[in-house]
């Protein structure tokens, strides 16, 4: 049946087009290649102030994204903010005395976690806690400090 084959060809082409569109979107447009199905392990850290850090914010080591924030909650004991994050298994040699700071991308950009490796032999594992943390710098506090220092120097 000629008409039937023509229809089959067109529908096949249509489905192929949409699959190509999907691939385009997945690889060219989204962050698909990075995080799906890569094995990760979870660690957490306590901060006095998380500033503008959000869930899904990146965890960077020397500027390279190696993990993501998975959850942020208030620790009931210390009343500090506990940030949970997952780290790519490829980076499982991070020393336990590494420090993590909340940094700002550019001057007014999004906030992210920056990891500074320590020197300990023991490494971070699933469920570890990063002890050394540096909270976000809140602009108002900075200005306040600056003004105080400025007036003191007189």
């Amino acid at each position: 049946m000629k008409k039937q084959t023509k229809i089959e060809i067109w529908v096949g082409a249509f489905v192929l087009m949409s699959l190509m569109a999907l691939a385009y979107i997945a690889f060219q447009v989204s962050n698909f290649s990075s995080w799906k199905d890569r094995p990760t392990y979870e660690v957490s850290a306590l901060f006095d102030n998380i500033g503008g850090l959000k869930e899904r914010g990146p965890l960077k080591l020397s500027g390279v994204v190696i993990g993501r924030v998975t959850a942020i909650e208030i620790d009931p004991v210390s009343f500090k903010a506990r940030v949970h994050m997952k780290i790519d298994q490829a980076f499982n040699q991070l020393p336990v005395d590494s420090s993590v700071s909340i940094l700002t991308s550019g001057l007014l950009g999004d906030q992210y976690l920056g990891l500074d490796p320590g020197g300990d032999e023991e490494v971070l594992r699933q469920g570890s806690e990063i002890e050394m943390t540096q909270s976000a710098m809140v602009l108002e506090e900075l200005i306040g400090q600056f003004l105080v220092k400025f007036s003191e120097s007189d």
């Binding site: 569109a21 999907l22 979107i25 447009v29």
Partner: protein, 261 residues
């Protein structure tokens, strides 16, 4: 009976009718869902309907996708350049398309083109007694006519929206990078860092599936309940487009609040 009492009576009657219509609609949808598995066995029928709903909608989706993406980037650039943030135009375009414009605009266009055509076709088949003839020939119109069309709409719309989005991003690239001079590297890298596969792409696909179901239900229901005359079919077609369009906008709000809170 006073005017006010009559008003109340009409209101009550109207509401009861709406509830009854909703009930009939639900039963109808249920019977179509029951017939759907057998529609999968008649693959030739399904294929033909995917051709009618999907392939024939390609021209409008291709053009619309390209233009929407281009305009988004153009306007986005104009606004962002004021904040020296024009390099974000890529992620802005992509996110707008994937999260909202692809499913919604694609859905609206699809409802207008394929939804109205479906209602008209079924209304016409009923008024020329073709459905009756099928029943008399011991062919179940649920399995032969309604279920394949229902499935085809639900399959076609998400595929069309994918194509719409891809073209939109490409159109955005053409305008931002090739025309307005945004740096190509910044364009793509900002986009890939902002666009999340699960949050943005998958949610957009879920939306388009939901809209597809909505359009399929409304188009079929209006077609089957159309008065079998030429005015009846034409008013049913109009109703399909209006109800489906409003439904898409309303459903979009609900889904967006759930997904992107």
């Amino acid at each position: 009976m006073s005017g006010f009492q009559r008003f109340l009576q009409n209101l009550g009657q109207g509401s009861l009718e709406k509830v009854a219509a909703f009930g009939r609609g639900s039963l109808f949808i249920w019977s179509i869902l029951m017939a759907t598995p057998s529609a999968l066995f008649r693959f030739d029928l399904l294929l033909k309907q995917i051709y009618v709903a999907g392939v024939l909608s390609l021209p409008i989706i291709l053009m619309a996708g390209l233009f929407v993406g281009m305009v988004l980037s153009l306007q986005g650039y104009n606004i962002l350049v004021e904040f020296n943030a024009e390099e974000a135009v890529g992620s802005m375009t992509a996110l707008s398309l994937l999260r909202e414009l692809g499913p919604v605009v694609g859905g609206l266009l699809f409802a207008g083109r394929a939804g109205s055509a479906l209602t008209a076709e079924i209304g016409l088949m009923r008024s020329t007694e073709q459905i009756s003839a099928l029943e008399m020939m011991a062919v179940d119109p649920l399995k032969f006519i309604y279920a394949p069309r229902f499935l085809a709409v639900i399959i076609a719309l998400p595929l069309l929206v994918l194509i719409f989005n891809a073209l939109g991003v490409f159109g955005g690239y053409l305008v931002s990078v090739s025309w307005l001079g945004v740096d190509s590297g910044a364009f793509w890298s900002q986009m890939t860092s902002q666009v999340d596969w699960q949050e943005d792409v998958l949610n957009g696909i879920i939306k388009s599936i939901a809209f597809g179901v909505l359009i399929a239900v409304i188009a079929l229901f209006q077609g089957v309940n159309a008065i079998p005359s030429s005015e009846g079919v034409s008013s049913a077609t109009t109703r399909t487009v209006v109800h489906a369009s409003l439904g898409i906008l309303g459903l979009d709000f609900i889904l967006t609040s759930i997904m992107f809170n």
